[in-house]
């Protein structure tokens, strides 16, 4: 009789685990449709392969992935060129939408306003470098267990634009929150196809989550899996 609750517990946990794995691996809509915005892509628009990354500038593991790529920039660019890949980064505010993290939305506003000036990549890279120097290298906000980023202000994202020489129209766009509607629309689209962050759609190979111990050689395994999936 004493055994029954334990067996019942095991069955419940096992069932829950199975259900979680099934829902994690079942997607109804493909992640990759057509390009969202040419200004956030890298590579030829006629490329044979299409790789998409769903991200949020306040998502620590998205940024660890992006930093690993950024630190191996020449190898990454060579890989894209050698394999004829179009690479698109889709910035969302999924962490604001699902978690209430305020600066997820603010950072996306900065990135979208920079995009309107055709300086998305400059802003994106400046954001990654700034977050690394100001927080991650100090052990803040760089993992699920690290202390959270608390002292960030809206001005942090505005100043980033100024530092990379964006014009007054960036400031106007940012202060008037002109990009908000586009962000909301894109995040809603991302939420319907991507489970968790970062999410990757490399041709037909789709996955989400990133292990912070992965180096660029394992990231290349993901890219290879994408190339093979076509």
């Amino acid at each position: 009789m004493k055994k029954l609750p334990r067996i019942l517990g095991l069955v419940v946990v096992g069932g829950l685990l199975l259900l979680a794995i099934i829902t994690s691996t079942t997607k109804t809509t493909p992640l990759s449709e057509k390009i969202w915005d040419e200004r956030t892509t890298f590579g030829s628009l006629d490329a044979k392969n299409y790789f998409i990354v769903y991200t949020d500038l306040m998502c620590p593991y998205c940024n660890l992935y992006a930093q690993e790529v950024y630190h191996n920039e020449s190898e990454f660019e060579q890989y894209l060129a050698d394999n004829d890949i179009l690479y698109e980064v889709r910035v969302t505010d999924m962490l604001y939408d699902a978690n209430g993290i305020k600066h997820s939305q603010t950072s996306a506003e900065g990135a979208y306003c920079a995009k309107r000036e055709g300086k998305f990549w400059e802003y994106y890279h400046a954001a990654l470098t700034a977050l690394e120097e100001d927080y991650y290298n100090k052990g803040i906000g760089n993992s699920k267990t690290a202390p959270k980023i608390e002292d960030m202000t809206r001005a942090y994202w505005l100043n980033l634009g100024k530092e990379i020489g964006l014009s007054e129209s960036f400031e106007t766009c940012f202060n008037n929150r002109e990009a908000l509607e586009e962000i909301n629309k894109n995040t809603a689209k991302a939420n319907s196809v991507a489970y968790g962050l970062p999410s990757f759609a490399f041709n037909k190979y789709e996955t989400s989550g990133y292990d912070p111990t992965w180096d660029f050689s394992i990231i290349k395994e993901m890219y290879d899996a994408g190339l093979k999936s076509k």
Partner: protein, 206 residues
């Protein structure tokens, strides 16, 4: 109230004896071999799940060498290689607790099958709960997140994050209770064996 206090004291007393049971059992290979294997195996598994299902998905999509690289990466992660200290510590301690529990269960099972009854289910429950709670709750890459997402739409990551915390806490709680029970049995078995051996020696000398 006094009875409850006595019960609590007795529980902690037995927990202390369970720790002594582990120390005594550490000399027996029936304990340390399964404990070591359990620790390494479970630690590797938890590391593989630390990025949601991404490692498993990549293992499935990569060739043999690629898969080996990912598994080796997770294995070395058990010792903190390339791991953030705060990410590594909970995985290390959970794997250590689970490994010790497996070692104790194998040890007790070999000595007295009946005493080990039920403990194996606890190992399964701890493993299942720990895996369900792993991943990055903030990023929505816990195994539970998509499941929660189908129930709660808006704040699904936050709910999944909260649940992951509760589930991991439950895993640790079940592991500690099971550890106390099996560790205490181990202590009793080893002490009783030692007593019987000494008694037999005395009888032979006499």
């Amino acid at each position: 109230m006094k009875k409850l206090f006595e019960k609590i004291l007795r529980w902690f007393d037995e927990l202390g004896l369970a720790f002594r049971g582990v120390l005594l059992a550490s000399r027996y290979k029936n304990f340390y071999l399964p404990a070591l294997l359990g620790f390494l195996g479970f630690g590797t598994l938890l590391n593989l799940f630390s990025g949601g299902l991404s490692s498993f998905s990549l293992i499935g999509a990569s060739g043999f060498l690629g898969a080996l690289k990912i598994i080796a990466n997770a294995f070395f992660g058990v010792f903190g290689v390339n791991k953030n200290l705060l990410d590594w510590l909970p995985i290390f301690f959970l794997a250590l607790l689970q490994g010790t529990l497996i070692g104790l269960i194998v040890f007790v099972y070999k000595k007295n099958k009946e005493k080990a009854e039920g403990a194996a289910e606890s190992v399964g429950i701890v493993a299942g709960l720990a895996i369900l709670g792993s991943g990055c709750p903030t990023c929505g890459t816990t195994l539970l997140a998509p499941l929660i997402g189908t129930i709660f739409s808006g704040s699904s990551f936050a709910v999944a994050g909260l649940l992951s915390g509760v589930i991991t806490f439950l895993a640790v709680l079940v592991a500690i209770f099971s550890f106390k029970k099996v560790g205490f049995e181990t202590y009793a078995i080893i002490k009783s064996e030692n007593y019987n051996r000494k008694k037999k020696n005395h009888e032979e000398i006499a």
